[in-house]
Symmetry: C3
Subunit: 398 residues, 3 copies
C-alpha cells in the first residue's frame, strides 16, 4: 500500500463518529458500529504504514503495563509488539496468579503503576463474574486518580481477555475475515458456525465463542451456535447476540450438532470450552483456594468432554459447508487429532489445509491492540495518524 | 509550567555546586545540601518537561540494570518509568533472592552487566549490615572496571533501598512536602513526627524512618522520633540525624508515645518497622539460610508488635496535631485498620482523607530516580537539560 | 576512533562477499571466511560508533525474541544490550525449561512470535542432538511463514549456544584475540591450547571448546586440544576442525595432558566440560524427565571429574607457555581455586593476573551479537552502516 492509499484509510477513520478518547476497550458490544469500524481502520492503517517501512511510533517514551493473571505467549507477544510499535515500553505487573485483588489494593495499585503510563492491558479470564469486574474497577480507580490530579493523564485499559469477552481476539478474527472476503460489508449475510469442539486438554474459558457471536451479530451475519447440552455460554451474552443479530439484519440460531451448524456455512469456528456449570462451580473453589476441589472439578469436566469426541472438525463435516470450502478459523493453539493429542478439536488434514489462514488470522492481533490503544489516547486519532504519515520517518535504516 | 519557567529551574540547577558526576547515590547524608537541591530541581524540571509535552529523553539507546533482591511493585515501576523517560531500557538482574554474592562474583557480575549500561538500581534492604555494603562493592568494581579500560563509561548506582537509607523514597517524600508547603525553604521550622505504628503483617525494614530523619534533619525541621521501647533505629543514624538537625538550625528529640510526637506536628509519618534487635538476629539466620529460625523470629516479632496495638494513627491522635490538620504521609502500602487488616497503622477515616496526598507523594519517585541517574551521568546536567529544552522534541505525536 | 577510521571499517566490510541476508547464524563453520570477517568488521564498527558517541540505532521499533532454555546472566545481558543498541525491544519467550517442543508447536510458535520481530536469539545447549536441531526447525518455520505471506519479513536466528557451537562466544573470543595481537592476520601460526580443566561444579556443555577449535581452525592457528581420556568432544566437530586447520594452513593435534598442550603456547583456554559419554547418557534421561537418574548421572560425572584435579591452570603450567606469558582466556565464570571452590579450573594468582583480559574478552560479545543481527537483516550492511555514520545522531544528549 502506498502513502496515498494509507491516507485514504486515515481519511475514512476521520469520518467516523467516535467517543473513545480516555475510554477503555472492554466489550465490543459497548462500542458503536462507528467505533468498531474506526478500530479496524486504525489497525489497517498502522499495519500498512509498518509494511510500507514508515514508523508508526507515537510516543518518544511511555510505559504500557501488562497484567496477565493467566499464562499467554501469544497475547503477551501481541501486546508487547503493539506497544513497541507505538513507542511504549512494557512493564509487567505480576500480582500473583491465585489472588484476586479488590478495593483499596486495586485502587492504589492502579494509581501507582500509572504515573507515567499510557496503556494497561489486562488478561483475567478464569473467574466467571470476576475478570470484567476487575477491569472496570481499575478503570474507575484511574478516573478517580485523574480527577484528583494524581495522574497526569488517563491510561487506557485494554481487555486482553476477560470472563465475558475477548475483543482483541474477535476484532482480529473479523479483520482477517474482512480481508479474506474483500471488505467488512461483504460479511453481511455470510453464515458463520461457532461450534463447540472436543478437547482432552483442559476446561477453556468462554470468552472466545462469546466474543465471536457478540461481534458477528453486529455485522449482519447469519450465526449458528452449536454445542452439546450443558455447554451453553453466559445466557446474557447469548441473548444479547440474538438481539444484535436481529438489529443488524442478520440472524442467530442454536443447534445441537456440529454437522447441522456446518451445513452451508461460509465460515466455521470449531473450538472447545468448558461447560458453563463447571465455570460457575470453579469460582467458589478458586476463592477458597481449594486446589484439590479444582482438580476434581477439572477431572469431571474432562470426563464430561469425553462423551462428545464426535465433535471434531474433520473432512466429512467440512464437506457439508458451502461448496465444501468454508473458511476454518481458530484462535490457536488448536488441539489437532494425532498431532497434539489422540483426539481433538480438528483433524490434521483439515488443519493442514488452513494452517496459514489461522496464522494470518493471528497476525492482525498486534495491530488491533495498537489501534485500541491509539483510539483510547488520541483526541483526534485521524489527525495523529495523518501527522505520522506526513512525518514519514522510516522504521529502519536498512 | 511553560518553557520559560522550566528554563528557570534549569538555571537554578546550574547555580548549584555539585560533584555527582560518575558518583553513586547511596545515602542522602553523603550528599551536600547543594547536591540535594540539585536533585530536587532536576526532578522538578524533568516532570515539568514531561507534563508540558516535551521529551526529556537523554539516550537514544542504553541499558539500565534493575537488581531487586526483594519484591517491589512500586519501586520497580518507578525505576522502569524513570529509565524509560530518559531513554534507557531496563534489564533485570536476578541473582536469586536468598544468596548474598561477595568478592569475585560481585566484581565480575558488576562488569559483565555494564558494558553498555548507564545506570544500576539496587534494592537490598533485608540484611542489616549488608545492603549498603553490597552497593559499595558494586560501585568499587565499576570504578576498577573503568580504570582498567574494561568499561567504556561508569554506570551510576542508585540505591533503591538499603538496610540504612531509602533515598529515592525520602527525596520523593520531601519533594512532595516542598510542593505541598510552597517550597523547600518553607519546611524550616516545621515539626515532623516520624512515628512507629502497629502492623500485623511482617517485620519491615528500618530504611524508611531512617531515610526520613536523615533527610529532615538537613532541612532545619523540628523532628520528633517516636517508638515503643526496643524499636529503636540504627543508633549511628539516630546520632547523625541529631547532629545534622543541630547544624541545620532544627531540632531532634525522641519520645515514647505517638500522642506526644503528634502534638502540634505539621507533618506525621506513622509507619511500622521491625525491632532493631530482630533485624540484628535476622542476619546470622539469613546467612545460615535457617528458614525455620527466620519463621520463628518473625512469629516473635509479630507477637512483640501485638503489645503495641495502640500505636495507630487515628482521628483522636490527628486532632492533637497543629490545628488538627497535619499532613499525613506514608510510603505505601499502609496497613489500614478494617481495610487491609483488623488493626493496623492507620484508621480508615484518616487514610481516606489523605489518600490522594499519599498518591501524590508517590508520584515524585520516578522523577527523583531519573534526576539521580541524570546527575550521576551528566558532567553538566544543567547544560544537558538546557539542550533538551532547546531541542523541544514533543513526547508524543498525539 | 574518529568518523574517518570508522568509515574505513565500513568500507572494508563492503568489500567482503557475503550472503548472510535472511540467513541465520548457527555455526561458524557454515560461514565463509569473508562472512566471518564481515561479522568482525561490523562488530568493530558498531563498537567504534558507540564509543565515539554516535548512535548505531537501526530500528525505530521492532521486537527481538530471547529464548533461553537455560539460565544465563551474561549472554542474556549481551543479547539485550545488542538489541537495545540497534533499537530492538527484547521480549522473552519462556516455553518452560524441561520441555522440548517439536513439530507443530515449533512451527506455530515461531510464526506467532514473529509478526513484528527482527531477530530471535536461542540458547539450548544441554541436550546433545537437540539444540542445533531445534534452531534449524525454527529457521525452517520462519522460511515457510515468509513464503506463505504470513510473515512480513524474515527474523534472523542467532545461536546463543547450542549443543554443537557457541558462535557468539567464539567470535567474541577471537575478536578479542585480534585486538590483543594486533589483527586477525596476526593469529596465523599462533599456538592455542584448548584444554579441559577440573571443575567441581557441574557437567558443563561442550559447545565452548567446540566453538573455539571450530573457529581457530579457520584462522591458520596451531591448535592443541587436551583432555583426559573419556572427555572427548563430538567426534564430527573434532574431525571438521582437523580438516579446517589443514585447509587454512594451520595444524591440529590432540594430547593427553595440560602441560603438553601449554608448552610454547601463545594462548591457553583451560575450561571444564562434561565427558562426552555423560552428555550422551543425559539425553534419554532428559526426554524421560528422569530427575533422579539425572542427579545420579551428575554425581557420577563429578566423581569422574575428581580423578583429574591436577588439570588446573596454575603458575607452574603457565611457565611452560611461550615466554611464560601466554594469554589466558575463559568464557567466565571460571572456577577459581580457593576463591569460588577448593580446587578448580584455574589458580587464583593466574586468574588475578588475567582478570581484566577475561573481562575485555567478554566485552566483545554484545557487539558480535549486534553484528550478527545486522548482517542477517540488512541487504547491504555496509550501506546501512554508512547511512548511520552519515546521519551522525548522537547516542545521548549528555
Amino acid at each position: 500500500m502506498d502513502k496515498k492509499e494509507i491516507a485514504r484509510l486515515v481519511e475514512a477513520l476521520g469520518s467516523k463518529k467516535i467517543g473513545m478518547y480516555r475510554k477503555d476497550f472492554l466489550l465490543t458490544w459497548e462500542k458503536s458500529r462507528d467505533e468498531l469500524d474506526a478500530t479496524f481502520l486504525a489497525a489497517d492503517a498502522l499495519r500498512a504504514m509498518r509494511e510500507a517501512g514508515l514508523s508508526p511510533r507515537v510516543w518518544d517514551s511511555g510505559i504500557a503495563v501488562s497484567n496477565f493473571r493467566d499464562n499467554s505467549t501469544r497475547t503477551r507477544f501481541s501486546f508487547a509488539s503493539a506497544c513497541d510499535l507505538l513507542g511504549l515500553y512494557v512493564q509487567d505487573l505480576d500480582e500473583g496468579k491465585s489472588q484476586i485483588a479488590h478495593g483499596e489494593t486495586v485502587r492504589e495499585t492502579a494509581n501507582m503503576i500509572s504515573f507515567l503510563s499510557e496503556a494497561i492491558g489486562i488478561r483475567d479470564d478464569m473467574y466467571l463474574g470476576e475478570g470484567d469486574k476487575y477491569q472496570r474497577e481499575v478503570g474507575k480507580a484511574l478516573d478517580e486518580g485523574v480527577a484528583a490530579g494524581v495522574l497526569p493523564d488517563r491510561p487506557t485499559v485494554v481487555n486482553l481477555q476477560s470472563d465475558i469477552d475477548h475483543p482483541t481476539q474477535s476484532m482480529a478474527d473479523f479483520l482477517h475475515l474482512a480481508h479474506h472476503f474483500g471488505g467488512l460489508d461483504k460479511l453481511k449475510g455470510k453464515k458463520i458456525a461457532m461450534s463447540w469442539a472436543y478437547s482432552p486438554s483442559y476446561g477453556k474459558p468462554l470468552s472466545v465463542p462469546q466474543g465471536v457471536i457478540g461481534l458477528a451479530s453486529r455485522l449482519g451475519m447469519e450465526i449458528v451456535l452449536a454445542h452439546p447440552e450443558g455447554y451453553g455460554l453466559i445466557p446474557e451474552v447469548v441473548e444479547l447476540s440474538r438481539r444484535q443479530a436481529r438489529e443488524s439484519g442478520g440472524s442467530f440460531s442454536q443447534v445441537a450438532s456440529m454437522e447441522e451448524a456446518f451445513a452451508g456455512a461460509d465460515i466455521v469456528y470449531p473450538k472447545s470450552w468448558a461447560p458453563y456449570e463447571v465455570m460457575q462451580q470453579r469460582v467458589p473453589l478458586l476463592h477458597a483456594n481449594d486446589l484439590s476441589g479444582l482438580k476434581e472439578l477439572e477431572r469431571k469436566c474432562l470426563e464430561s468432554n469425553a462423551r462428545w469426541k464426535g465433535w471434531e472438525c474433520d473432512e466429512a463435516k467440512m464437506r457439508l459447508t458451502k461448496n465444501g470450502e468454508a473458511l476454518y478459523m481458530h484462535c490457536l493453539p488448536a488441539d489437532i487429532t494425532d498431532v497434539s493429542c489422540k483426539a481433538g478439536e480438528v483433524a490434521a488434514k483439515v488443519f493442514d489445509k488452513y494452517r496459514d489462514d489461522t496464522y494470518r488470522e493471528a497476525s492482525y492481533k498486534p495491530y488491533i491492540i495498537a489501534a485500541m490503544i491509539l483510539l483510547g489516547k488520541a483526541k483526534d486519532p485521524a489527525a495523529t495518524l495523518g501527522r505520522l504519515l506526513e512525518r514519514g520517518t522510516p522504521r529502519s535504516a536498512l
